[in-house]
C-alpha cells in the first residue's frame, strides 16, 4: 500500500468520458550537449557556460512515455526541472515534445546541489504540485550518469520506484513496467502513484514540428524559488539544511592521455604485431 502524494483534491476538474485522468510529472534536466567539449570548473562542478546545452537526451524518452500515457488516459503532463536559468530550456523542449505545462525550480541557494539534494527538491516540487499519479524520469543524466535521482526521488516521496523501464504503461490505476537487466528480465507492476525511470529502448522520441514549437510558446511555465518548495520539503519530513554538504570536491582534472599510445596502419602484419604487444604488456 502506498499513499497518494498529498495535494489539492482533484474533484470537480471534470474528466472527458469515463477515462480516469492521470496526472504525470516528468522530470527533465538541462545538460551540456554530449557531443560538445564538456569540462568541470575549479569547484569540480560542470561548467554550463559553453552554450551547448540541451534537454538531457535520455529525458526525451521519459517525455515521450508521459505523452503516450497521457494520450491513452486523457491525462496531463507537467514537465519539471530543477536548476539554474537554463532549466527553462529543458522544460521548453519538453513542452515542444508534448508536455502541457512546465515548472522550474530555480534559486541561488540551490546552486551545486548533489544528486540527493536534487531528488529532494524534485520531491518537494511534486508534493507542492499535488495530485500527481505518476512521476517519470530519464534513466540517467548524461552529465552526471549517476542514475541516483529517480530512486532517491521515489524514496523521498515514499512511493514505489520502478527503475529502467524498457516498456511502461498504465491501466486501471496500476503501472506496468518491463525491465531488462544483465541477469534477468523483470515484469513489474505497482499501484499508482509511483516513480518510473524510462530507458532509451522504451520508445522513439518524436521530433517536434513547426506547429509543436509554436504551440509550446503558449504553454505556461511556473517558476518556483526555494521558499515555495519548502512546504513540500516540510511535509516530506525534510528541511533545506539537508539538501547538500555531503561531499566536497578535492580535485577535478582532465584525464591525462597516455603518452605511450600506439597507432599503426595495417600492412599485413598488424595482427601479428598486436599479438606480440598484448603478450608484452601481459594483457593476455
Amino acid at each position: 500500500m502506498s499513499t497518494r502524494v498529498p495535494g489539492p483534491s482533484r474533484v470537480g476538474r471534470g474528466s472527458p468520458g469515463n477515462l480516469p485522468r492521470v496526472k504525470i510529472v516528468v522530470a527533465v534536466k538541462h545538460v551540456p550537449d554530449v557531443q560538445s567539449t564538456r569540462m568541470l570548473g575549479a569547484d569540480g562542478r560542470l561548467r554550463r557556460d559553453g552554450g551547448d546545452g540541451t534537454l538531457n537526451e535520455l529525458d526525451e524518452n521519459a517525455v515521450e512515455a508521459a505523452v503516450q500515457i497521457a494520450a491513452a488516459t486523457s491525462g496531463e503532463v507537467v514537465a519539471l526541472s530543477v536548476g539554474p536559468a537554463d532549466a527553462h530550456d529543458a522544460v521548453r523542449r519538453a513542452l515542444q515534445l508534448g508536455a502541457s505545462r512546465g515548472v522550474v525550480v530555480s534559486d541561488e541557494r540551490l546552486v551545486g546541489l548533489d544528486a540527493l539534494g536534487t531528488a529532494a527538491v524534485l520531491a518537494a516540487a511534486v508534493t507542492v504540485e499535488g495530485g500527481v499519479d505518476l512521476v517519470l524520469t530519464g534513466m540517467a543524466s548524461t552529465d552526471g550518469l549517476t542514475s541516483v535521482v529517480p530512486t532517491a526521488l521515489a524514496a523521498y516521496l515514499r512511493l514505489p520506484a520502478l527503475a529502467l523501464a524498457a516498456h511502461v504503461d498504465v491501466a486501471d490505476g496500476t503501472v506496468h513496467v518491463r525491465r531488462e537487466l544483465d541477469h534477468a528480465v523483470e515484469e513489474l507492476s505497482a499501484p499508482l502513484p509511483a516513480v518510473v525511470s524510462v530507458t532509451d529502448a522504451a520508445n522513439e522520441p518524436s521530433f517536434p514540428g513547426f506547429r509543436a514549437i509554436m504551440a509550446a510558446r503558449k504553454k505556461p511555465v511556473q517558476e518556483l524559488g526555494l521558499d515555495e518548495v519548502v512546504p513540500g520539503l516540510t511535509s516530506l519530513g525534510l528541511d533545506p539544511s539537508m539538501l547538500g554538504g555531503r561531499t566536497r570536491v578535492l580535485h577535478a582534472e582532465p584525464q591525462q592521455p597516455r603518452t605511450d599510445r600506439v597507432l599503426v596502419t595495417d600492412d599485413g602484419d598488424a595482427g601479428v604485431r598486436l599479438a606480440a604487444w598484448l603478450v608484452d604488456q601481459r594483457l593476455v
Binding site: 599510445r261 595482427g271 598486436l274
Partner: protein, 318 residues
Amino acid sequence: MTTLVLLDHDDDGTPRPAALELVTAARPLGEVHGVWVGDGLDAALPGLADAGVLIVHRLPADVWWPAALAEALHAVRSATGADLVLLASTSEGKEVAAGLAVLDGAAVVTDAERVERVEGALRVTKSVLAGTWVSTVEVTSPVAVVTLEPNAVRAEPAAAPSSPQVVDVQVAVSELARSVTVVRTPRQATGRPDLATADVVVVAGRGVDGHLSPVEELADLLGGAVGATRVVADEGWLPREQQVGQTGVAVAPRLYIGVGVSGAVHHRGGMQSAGTVVAVNSDPDAPIFEFADYGIVGDLFDVLPALTAELRRLRELA
C-alpha cells in the same frame, strides 16, 4: 571504522567476482563486515575467510528487491555503526545505493574507481564526462554509500585469513518496499563470462556487418565476453543485453578490444574505465583512435583472424 560490503552471489551461492573486489577495496579502510542475502553462505565462508571478512550479516532471501534491501542494509548499518557501505556498480547496486543513502542521510557516489581514507576522511575518485575527466571528492557527512566499478580493484586474499562470524538478521520490511509486484525471469547463461565484470571484453561494432565469428573466436581464445554497440544490437546481430555503453552495460575490463566500433560518446560512456583500449577500424579518423591505447587502421576481417591465429600460435609455444 567498519565498512559494510554487499556480497552479491549467484543463486548457487558462488560470490560474484565483484564481491571479493569490494572486500579487497574495503580492507584498507577498516574492519570489513559482509552482508549476505539468502541461502548458500556456508559454501562461500572459506572464500570470505581468505578475504578477511570478520562478520557476515545474513538477511532473509525475500529482501532481494532493491527497496527492501536498502531498508535491510539501513538496519544493519545503523546497528554496526559502519561509516561506509560498498556495493557493486550495477544498475541494481545503484538503486540500492540511492535508497539506502536517503534512509541514512548519507553521501552517495556511484561508479567509483578508488576509495581511500586520508586522515580519517573518505575520498572517492571516479572518472566523469565519458572518461574525459577525473574527479576526487571527500565525504563530509558521517556515512557514505559508494558503488565501485567492476575490476577497479583486483580481488586479493587478506594478509591473514579471518574466521567470519555469521549473524542472522531479522528485518521488518515496510509495506512500501513490498508494493511492487515482480515477476523475474533469469536469462540463459551464455557460457562466456559476465559482460559487466569480465576481465576481457571484445566489442563488435557496425563494421562486423553481421559476421560475429571473428569476434567470438577472439573472445573465446582470451576467455572474454562479447559486447555490442547499439547499432549491432539494433541490427539484431547480438542481443540487446550485450550492448555496451551509456544506455547499455557499463564495462570496466582490464582489456577492451573494439572492432569496427567508431567510438561514439554514448559508447565511450560505458567503457570509459577500461584499463587498456585496443581498436581496429578502417577509418583513420574514427573517434575511437582518440582514446585507444593501441589502434590499428585496418580491415577487421584481415586483422582479427591474423591476431587470433598468432595468439594461438604463441600460446602453443608457451
